[in-house]
């Protein structure tokens, strides 16, 4: 046993000597969580809506006050000419413009029909869609109020009552925090492990260790242990930040969450080991981890794009990414607060991946030696 401790301590010496890397490894998760949580948000706040129309018109005025009362929208400028509004849109000063027909109120009351046009900035389709949705909501509620006024106390109205379970405020951090957790743990475990092994390969020191009486299995174990410890530190720091700074709830069992994370870390370490077997140089290992592991994880694990809306081929591809399953588990435990039974399938898939990846990489590693 003493041999292994000597070995593990050596790995920690290496890490502590490499200050820059250590700093990156420990600070990166914090920065990422804060970035994703605060700066990169898919929510739209105070989107500027310009108005083209007659502001003395009662309905127009009502709509305007409703927009002002809406916390996601705010009134920008009021124009007489459509061209002015277009210029504002082009410059990005306004996210959307509402064009009211001339004599809007009059036409509405006499013909029962009046036209209002919503023009939004499609250069940013996501925001445009969200803003248009909000404006439509505003118009609908105004229309409902008008109809009720006309035919009496809401006899024929259908008023949907929306309720968003688990995330009533629609905080995007609820989505990003689990994603970032998956990304960081995978990146640290796989890249750090791979690079540290390949570095010894490059330097020739691996040979030296191999002629020693330490068994290959223990060499692998002692290589993995430090990165396991590092990822536990990261896991704790990300969780603390997410909960106390971002306000993401931890509704489920923290033990279950930690267990799932440990399984995920195991599979990531396996991936790292596999990369180290394949790569001859540190650059290759970095590239493989960056392009081969991180990119697909970002794109396909549901952090940014929902897996359900991908083409079938990509959906199948996403199924073999461990991070996808881990992120599902994290979301369900943290946000929905479910127990082990509800995530049994995901947990089983992740465990199989871990055993498979660790098994095959240890076998490959041994034969390469």
């Amino acid at each position: 046993m003493k041999e292994i401790f000597a070995f593990i301590r050596k790995e920690f010496w290496h890490i502590s000597r490499d200050r820059r890397t250590t700093l990156i490894v420990l600070v990166m998760p914090v920065v990422q969580i804060l970035l994703f949580g605060f700066a990169i948000s898919t929510e739209v706040h105070n989107a500027v809506v310009d108005i083209v129309g007659d502001t003395t018109d009662p309905i127009v005025r009502n709509v305007m006050s409703r927009i002002e009362g809406n916390k996601y929208l705010s009134i920008g400028e009021i124009h007489d000419m459509p061209s002015q509004a277009e210029a504002r849109l082009r410059k990005g000063r306004a996210k959307a413009v509402l064009f009211f027909e001339r004599d809007f109120d009059k036409k509405f009351n006499s013909d029962g029909k009046a036209v209002v046009r919503i023009v939004s900035d499609g250069a940013d389709p996501n925001t445009a869609q969200i803003v248009t949705g909000y404006i439509q909501g505003v118009l609908q509620s105004e229309q409902l109020a008008l109809t009720e006024e006309m035919i009496g106390q809401g006899r024929v109205s259908m008023r949907p009552n929306l309720q968003l379970m688990y995330n009533p405020a629609m905080n995007s951090s609820y989505n990003f925090v689990p994603g970032v957790m998956g990304l960081i743990l995978m990146l640290i475990c796989s890249m750090m492990t791979a690079v540290s092994i390949v570095r010894e390969k490059e330097m020739g020191t691996l040979e030296l260790v191999l002629v020693s009486p330490v068994k290959p299995f223990w060499i692998i174990l002692s290589k993995l242990t430090p990165y396991l410890v590092l990822s536990i530190i990261n896991y704790v720091s990300v969780l603390l930040l997410a909960h106390y700074v971002m306000g993401v709830p931890i509704n489920g069992s923290i033990t279950l969450l930690s267990l799932a994370s440990l399984i995920f870390v195991g599979s990531s370490l396996g991936l790292g080991l596999l990369v180290s077997v394949i790569s001859k140089t540190q650059q290759t290992a970095m590239l493989l981890c960056g392009m081969g592991l991180t990119m697909p994880t970002m794109m396909l694990s549901g952090i940014i794009f929902p897996c359900e809306s991908m083409p079938v081929a990509l959906q199948i591809l996403s199924d073999i990414i461990p991070a996808k399953w881990y992120i599902i588990i994290v979301k369900r435990i943290m946000i929905q607060g479910v127990g082990a039974q509800a995530i049994a399938k995901e947990l089983a898939v992740l465990s199989c991946m871990m055993f498979f990846l660790l098994g095959i990489s240890i076998k490959k590693f041994k034969t390469r030696l």
Binding site: A6, F7, M203, G204, E207, V211, S212, P213, L369
Partner: protein, 248 residues
């Protein structure tokens, strides 16, 4: 050198990689306390043969023992009884001197007390007491090689394998290094050394020269010079290695 005790016994060793025969039926013995020079041009199969002797790879056919353990079955036992120092990097450069000693002491199963006394003893013998906290990367190459050799000897192996231990250093430093080798041999340790420096080959008790995977010559330097009518080992080597057909 004790002629009656063999530390290495190798017979008909063959190692093939696919169709390529890296080591082609070699047999030799090495005695306790002998300095055995293992020469050959690049690609002659030295490294492959040495890897087998160190328990890093298994031969395709043939058999033998190193420090009394079979190269076929007891690779792990062999590793316990040998020391190894490779050509360039035998130490972790981002670790301090004492950390390197402690690491390798720990790997070879020395206890804490032994490590402490070994460290003091070693640094004193090398006159490097002040270098204890130095990073290995900051040391001159000659120091590194001496330290690496001492560390390879720390667990008192029966045989030590040196793979081009002195490449890249000046003649004076090389001489100093060879004094360590002589000292080890006189203490009864078998030294198995590969080198490209023919003046070093002269220092060996016996020398083998590999060509195309076979041992073409094996005798003491004096005998070889006589047999090949050469003035020095350099000429002997050129005459023998010049027959190589393998292309690199």
């Amino acid at each position: 050198m004790e002629k009656n005790i063999k530390t290495v016994e190798i017979s008909h060793l063959v190692k093939k990689f696919g169709h390529f025969t890296a080591v082609d039926d070699i047999s030799f013995d090495v005695y306790k306390g002998e300095i055995f020079g293992f020469l050959g041009a690049n690609g002659a199969g030295k490294t492959t043969a040495m890897r087998i002797l160190c328990g890093l790879s298994r031969p395709t056919s043939g058999q033998g023992t190193v420090a009394g353990h079979s190269i076929l079955k007891d690779q792990e036992k062999i590793k316990r009884h040998i020391g190894y120092m490779s050509q360039k990097f035998s130490l972790y450069t981002d670790l301090k001197v004492w950390e390197n000693i402690e690491l390798f002491g720990g790997i070879y199963g020395l206890n804490d007390k032994q490590i402490v006394s070994k460290t003091d003893e070693m640094l004193k013998a090398l006159s490097m007491e002040n270098a204890r906290n130095m990073f290995v990367r900051d040391m001159p190459l000659g120091w590194k090689q001496k330290l690496a050799f001492s560390i390879a000897m720390a667990h008192n192996p029966e045989i030590v394998f040196l793979d081009e231990p002195t490449s890249g250093v000046d003649p004076v430093t090389r001489r100093n290094f060879w004094e360590l080798i002589y000292k080890a041999a006189s203490d009864g340790v078998t030294v198995f050394v590969t080198t490209h420096y023919m003046d070093e080959a002269e220092y060996c008790d016996r020398v083998s020269i590999m060509v195309d995977g076979r041992i073409e010559a094996l005798a003491s330097p004096a005998l070889l010079k006589e047999r090949y009518e050469a003035r020095n080992m350099d000429e002997v080597f050129s005459k023998i290695a010049g027959r190589a057909k393998r292309e690199l």
